[in-house]
């Protein structure tokens, strides 16, 4: 039984692609994101991972051999920069997946089933939303002092879902009143099927936007935690580079600047790219916003 959807013939992913590329700023954002992703994930395949500590070259200047100079341990900054992107981006990606998964399932159930579950979940989010999620996250993270990216993303995912759950629930509430859902209900298709086959696919664009926003939030959180020194790690990592540079007062030494500024620029470019992408996408998926 074919159910009519509001998505055009190209499908939801086609709409998302068009949404991102239709405006100049969205396209620039996409290019930034792809550029940073290539740098962080393809770059490591192209360079020599061997990057020894060299005491004779502490805070070395930029040169042909060391493009961005060397750091406080005499390691090559550029090599660290290439290798350091994977971890924060992966953590951001996984944390966003966890957040969105929890929020979508609970939000859809709460909004569609209503009743006691809805009430209970709303109370729960009321309370968790009053504790600033960063505070909660810092407390949990510093108790465990974990360096495993999976655990870190789990902690971030676990504390950030309530906001998104609220807005997913609100969306489900409006979708629920639409005719095609009523038709599905009249056919007695079952609650689970209606939620996952009829309701959620129709919000895919909205969920995708929130997934990207969740990535930016998670990267903000994880880099922040590295900055506070809460996540011990031995791997190369942009957050850790910034923390080491800052703790060594690199902003007072002109020749130490690349070690501080390079990872900052990478993170900023990635975040700006993601945000401009979502803005363009939001306008495409929500025509009311278009002339705003």
């Amino acid at each position: 039984m074919a159910v009519t959807t509001t998505a055009p013939a190209t499908g939801v992913w086609g709409t998302i692609w068009q949404g991102i590329t239709r405006s100049t700023s969205g396209f620039i954002g996409l290019c930034l994101v792809i550029g940073v992703l290539l740098f962080a994930f393809v770059g490591p395949l192209l360079i020599d991972h061997h990057n020894p500590t060299d005491v004779s070259r502490i805070w070395g200047p930029m040169s042909a051999e060391h493009w961005l100079g060397t750091n406080h341990e005499g390691k090559d900054t550029f090599t660290q920069l290439v290798l350091g992107g994977r971890e924060p981006i992966l953590v951001g990606f996984m944390a966003a997946l966890i957040t969105v998964a929890i929020a979508v399932v609970l939000g859809a159930v709460a909004g569609y089933v209503r009743g006691r579950i809805d009430h209970l979940l709303l109370q729960l989010t009321d309370i968790t939303m009053t504790i600033p999620f960063i505070v909660l996250m810092l407390v949990i993270a510093s108790f465990y002092r974990t360096s495993s990216p999976m655990v870190v993303s789990f902690i971030i995912g676990l504390v950030t879902w309530p906001f998104l759950m609220r807005s997913i629930r609100a969306q489900v509430l409006t979708l629920k009143e639409r005719e095609f859902i009523e038709a599905a209900r009249l056919q007695d298709l079952g609650t689970a099927r209606i939620i996952f086959v009829e309701v959620l696919p129709n919000m895919l664009g909205y969920i995708f936007i929130n997934f990207i926003i969740a990535i930016t939030n998670a990267i903000y959180a994880v880099v922040g935690m590295y900055l506070l020194g809460l996540l011990p790690s031995t791997a190369d990592n942009w957050g850790l580079m910034i923390q080491q540079a800052w703790d060594n007062n690199a902003f007072l030494l002109p020749q130490a600047a690349p070690f501080l500024i390079a990872p900052m620029v990478m993170i900023m470019l990635f975040q700006i790219g993601l945000v401009t992408m979502t803005r363009s996408l939001e306008q495409a998926l929500n025509p009311r916003l278009r002339d705003r």
Partner: protein
Amino acid sequence: MATELAAAPPPETGDSGPSAPRKSRPLLARIWRNYVFVKVRKAAVVVFVVANVTFFLGRAMPGDPIDVMAGRLTQGGMSMNEARAIAMHSLAYDPDAPLYEQWWEFITGILTFDLGGTINRPGFSVTDAIGAYLPWTLFSIGVGTLIAISLGLALGMVMAYKRNKVVDHVLSVVASVLGAIPNYLIAMVLVVGGGMYLGWFNPIELRGTLSPGVQPEFSFVFIGDAFFHAALPIITYVLAIIGTWMLIMKASTTEVLGEDYVTVARARGLRDARIATAYVGRNAVLPLVAQIAISFGTLVGGAIFVEQVLVYKGVGGLLLDAVNYRDYPLLQGLLIIITSCVVIANLVSDLLYSRLDPRIQN
């Protein structure tokens, strides 16, 4: 608003009590008071639940204050038993006290506004410690938010009036970019750019909350020094949140500009300035009041990063200390106070909102 709040009695005693003249108030006023009471009660429940969550959260985590201090002592070459004995002796924490006793002490403590003594700073009560740090955080965030929101709302209106013109496009890009950059990176850019490359200020001098020798008192020296040290955090907060407010206000204003009453006001030949303030501005700001309060919680959380980066002695460092040394009373106190601040901000915005828009009380 605050006096009204403090004076709001529970409903059983609401009609008797000292507020005799209130009896003659119209029915609507009494409903309004009930509305306040409902909000206050809900807020109290939230604070109580959060207090319990923090109590059990701390104890469910690995390691207690004794472990942490003993661990540090053993690194100095002491045997574990000896280190534990010293730690037990020097810290005001008894790990063998039954959990329910600790809980009872904690709950009764909250009800009497006595959050106990800190474990790691003997002689310092939790209230003292928080009282010494939290005002600086609230001061810097408060001033930053105030500037950011007023500027953001004004610029957002300009963007809405000039939408799809050059000004709008430029400001939109600026707002998106500012909104995307993490606040601690903005703080770093300020220090590196303004302090290192341009040499406008010495970032080391700006650290801390007050210069040595300056005492909190009501004088120009103190206030000037407080603003001098808070300048970087405040500018950081302004830059970090202004973009979001510009975009929100633009959307809200654009919506209001399409309303019939604006068209009618124009048709009546009212001056543009009057339409912009009395008709468009007011109605566009109205739905944003609630969001200001919600954003407050996020701001306090984000302030922890900014304060660490700029070495501003606010509540962020205290929280990290409490967590690192497993100082349970301090940690609980901080979480309760921070949550209460958020709850109160929400409460005030709810009440303010219900004054501005009486429809939502029903």
